[in-house]
């Protein structure tokens, strides 16, 4: 009976084979976490964008320069850290442990750079008077949705830097498998992917056009 069940299971992945997706359970677990986390961020983004569109007096505190140039730089830094992470995973699968660890350290530096730039941006907004339920410009909910959304994302980046630190340290010393590096990479790419939605929805949708937008504005005569 059980022998027969096993035969069927191995015949086709859809019949309940041991590994229908041909990946390890850690990787599948991370993917399932990513899907549920993606829904959390979707709900927050939806709440932010809904409020953004529904409120004609939604604050637009991001001039092209410095805020948008600044957040574009953050985006490029985060994208570059995704590139170094994928290089780390490729090296890990080739068995080059120290090279993989080195690429992961570059990834962590990218993550730390992102957090530093983002904290600077936050402090700037707080100095301008943005609070969770009030701000000097318009719809009071701006602060709550902005800090909630970007704060949760920044927490994810910070957790990711710690996670990658543990993986780099352990993997460089001969612990764990290439799959563990790949799973941490999945998490990191996901954090990057979420920013690809937060950046346009939050920053690019709230650009302050007038008065003349700083240095870039003056250069281009706007």
């Amino acid at each position: 009976m059980s022998e027969q069940v096993r035969e069927v299971a191995l015949e086709s992945p859809w019949a309940g084979g041991r590994s229908p997706f041909a990946i390890g359970s850690k990787k599948l677990g991370m993917w399932l976490f990513i899907i549920s986390d993606a829904l959390t961020f979707s709900a927050l983004l939806m709440a932010y964008t809904y409020s953004r569109v529904a409120n004609p007096d939604w604050p637009k505190p991001f001039p092209i320069y410095p805020a948008v140039v600044f957040s574009t730089l953050m985006t490029v830094v985060l994208l570059f850290s995704s590139f170094t992470m994928v290089m780390a995973v490729a090296q890990a699968h080739k068995g080059n442990r120290s090279a993989a660890a080195r690429w992961i350290v570059f990834t962590m530096l990218g993550g730390l750079g992102f957090i530093g730039l983002h904290m600077y941006e936050w402090l700037h907004l707080i100095e301008e008077g943005v609070r969770p339920f009030s701000n000097p410009w318009g719809a009071p909910l701006f602060g709550a949705t902005f800090f909630g959304l970007t704060g949760l994302h920044m927490t994810h980046v910070a957790v990711g830097v710690i996670y990658l630190g543990i993986i780099a340290f352990g993997f460089g010393r001969g612990k764990w498998s290439a799959e563990d590096v790949e799973v941490s990479g999945l998490y990191w790419h996901f954090v990057d992917l979420v920013w690809m939605f937060i950046f346009p929805m939050v920053y690019l949708m709230s650009v302050q056009y007038e008065p003349a937008a700083g240095a870039v504005g003056m250069l281009l005569g706007r």
Partner: protein, 106 residues
Amino acid sequence: MSGHSSHGSHEFAGTARQFAIVWGWLVALTLVEVYLAYIHLAVITTLLLLIGLSVIKAGLIMAYFMHLKFEKFSLVLALVPALLICIGLMTLIFPDSFRVLELGAR
């Protein structure tokens, strides 16, 4: 017979050159988004264009960096449609946000 080990290091598909090209595209699409914000179109137009471009970027990241292009298609089927349907259900209330604009408030 069932000596299948899940951590057998089968080759990680994709080359450094390929990853660099994908990264270049992601940066390029980001710059297009910034340009779209800079030229100041109507809110709804900007929103739709930005979401479209972001979905393309997300697809690139998932396909190449997260390796989904090189996994079994059954994994994609297990993960992506459910996510898209859930997000789609969330958007059902979204058109209500246009109501205030259509009422003429500025």
